[in-house]
Symmetry: C2
Subunit: 430 residues, 2 copies
Amino acid sequence: MVNEIVIAVLGAGTVGSGTVKVLKENAATVAARLGANIRVKKVLVRSLNRPRPELNGFDVTDNFDEIIADDEISVVVELMGGINPARDYMLRAMAAKKSVVTANKDVVAAHGKEMFAAAEANGVDFLFEASVGGGIPIIAPLKLSLAANRLTEVMGIVNGTTNYMLTKMAQDRADYDSVLKEAQAKGYAEADPSADVEGLDAARKAAILASIAFNSRVELSDVYVEGITKITANDIEYAKELGYTVKLLAIGRDLPEQGIDIRVHPVFLPLNHPLASVGGVFNAIFVRGNAVGEAMFYGPGAGSLPTASAVVADIIEAARNKLDGNAGRIKCTCYENKPICPIEETVSSYYVRLLVSDKPGVLGVIATTFGNAAVSLKSVIQTQREFDHQAEIVAVTHAVKYKNIMSALENLRRLDVVDEVQNMIRVESV
Amino acid sequence: MVNEIVIAVLGAGTVGSGTVKVLKENAATVAARLGANIRVKKVLVRSLNRPRPELNGFDVTDNFDEIIADDEISVVVELMGGINPARDYMLRAMAAKKSVVTANKDVVAAHGKEMFAAAEANGVDFLFEASVGGGIPIIAPLKLSLAANRLTEVMGIVNGTTNYMLTKMAQDRADYDSVLKEAQAKGYAEADPSADVEGLDAARKAAILASIAFNSRVELSDVYVEGITKITANDIEYAKELGYTVKLLAIGRDLPEQGIDIRVHPVFLPLNHPLASVGGVFNAIFVRGNAVGEAMFYGPGAGSLPTASAVVADIIEAARNKLDGNAGRIKCTCYENKPICPIEETVSSYYVRLLVSDKPGVLGVIATTFGNAAVSLKSVIQTQREFDHQAEIVAVTHAVKYKNIMSALENLRRLDVVDEVQNMIRVESV
């Protein structure tokens, strides 16, 4: 008897067609490693009218009920994206004792708990390696390879669009708008880029990573989010001058007292940080644990075949567990219930860029204003503008609470000599 | 009933004591993730006479028979190192239906096939994550997370001692001998550093990585090895000038025609390669696959707790499989039998540094000699020495077969104007 695992794929977009392609091209390798063939019996599409040469030879359907009713299908691979009907389909698949593999960060970030509960109740797998970091192995390594650790930090470049844009801005000394247009022309940014540039995509991944790393459910709504829309060529020049690079990071920290500090925002990252050299559309996730120290996982954060690499790895795992009679072997690891640290209580160093009147004594007034809000400064740069009697002051603070920097900025805005607080960006240390 | 898995640890050196420490300090976390406690019932030591405060509370023995005879012990963790008696103990443990976890690169590289056969015959696990890259998750990610790929390249900085030395030589413009002394003083290099600096340690890891990546057994004796002992401060300066950094790499490639190209040697690595920024004692493994594209795994390559992180992850996996009645779920993946590409047939670019007579026309003679051996040059630098009428010529070749560069060097040595072929180092592209 030839062992065989029969699956269905929901969705034939970028990731769906990539998954079908990888399963076909690497069929022999996958079968040898698993000890069984994987057969795609059905592919669910929205419309049967559109020609799909890449699905030739596959049984294409627009009716999910056919898949649910088919007892031969033991693994359902959801690659449609979006909350509905993906969530409903996955719950129905699990209720029908089919294991589920998904790349759907929206559902995992918003409904992870429900999904895990359904998997456990039905004794099936719910696997989602592809939901974070595209092809980068990160979910299984966090859950399994680093399981000996109490993890204290997970920090990642998890959005390729914004990393491409920031890398380009630094390389070409270009401004935000021109780089966004270029990214859109190259297909790296969508026509409506808001989910990427405003940090929401990264926030979903931050919630997923933190939930796994810290054994406690973190929801999208727990994540403090700032995007990159306010970053200027100017900020990037100052970063270089000060020995940093600008990155949009998803940062999760398990603090001993305050709970989980979870946020997405741009940072000034020291050039010797392992994440600093991750350029272009690549992603990387940096992890700190009490046994391993630090580790980093690097690779392509998106794309048809890289994401399919992660999806097919999960399919192989789900198939192996079905063959072994061991579906559901890895349980949900959110067995704790840690509080979320309010953003006001989080501690960071800050870069602050101010436009001020170019008068003697201004620097002193500004330094005093920072000091009065209990914000001590690490360095200050003042540059003169040739016209209009204005100067730019760039201050980098020592580590302070968010509420203190906010009160310093409020006081600065009230000063006559301050024309504008132009930007405020967090500064990471190594 | 409280689930419990009972284990024995063989060896109480750096990794053994680290493993016991991690299991103790992170016991609650590990138990929550696994759903069972892990209890270290016995620790095997060479001599009972030496005081070992770190093993207080553990049952210490110098008799392996006690461990074999103890039916309660279901997982044996071998952390003694060396071939004997480690190999024998592991085989006996598996014969007694105990799963085995090891950090022993010597045994895995030299006797991997025998170990896997024993594991399969006895229906137990044989796990060895810690044998390559210390705390870096790489064996499980290669076997599982990248299982959807046909992997074509695995390339790593897998020896921390030599990476520390090369990093130091570059940073301080220091020479080999002084950096080796410093590394020895800091405990990064051993009194007899030969296994590290001559590349043998890296070669064992190269054999293990290539075996897993390419599904075909690669033995230590298959690996072509050059160490770093001939690298001078001079070479590192030229590397910088040409836009490279010098690294000792373990390189495995699965070539479509010639078989597995497997070697360890220093390389000139372009600064924009993901491995180029891996400095000091850190390790990293870079992988190329036909779905994922490229991925990299970075972290601490050695040390008590980092290595214990990998060992304990394997213990958790072995324990889970014992609890599930599924020990041996991951089979040996060396199901192919690929030839090894002879070193003469391998293709590289080369950096060649020559000491020549400083006479007009020398460069022409040398370029012609390269050309006559079918070696075409990409760039040539000539520098004059102030004394003794000698000049240094540095040539970088295009990609050529090893046998061609060797024949070029032989002809160069015969020339009157060539005083010495000072070094030859391979050059990698991105």
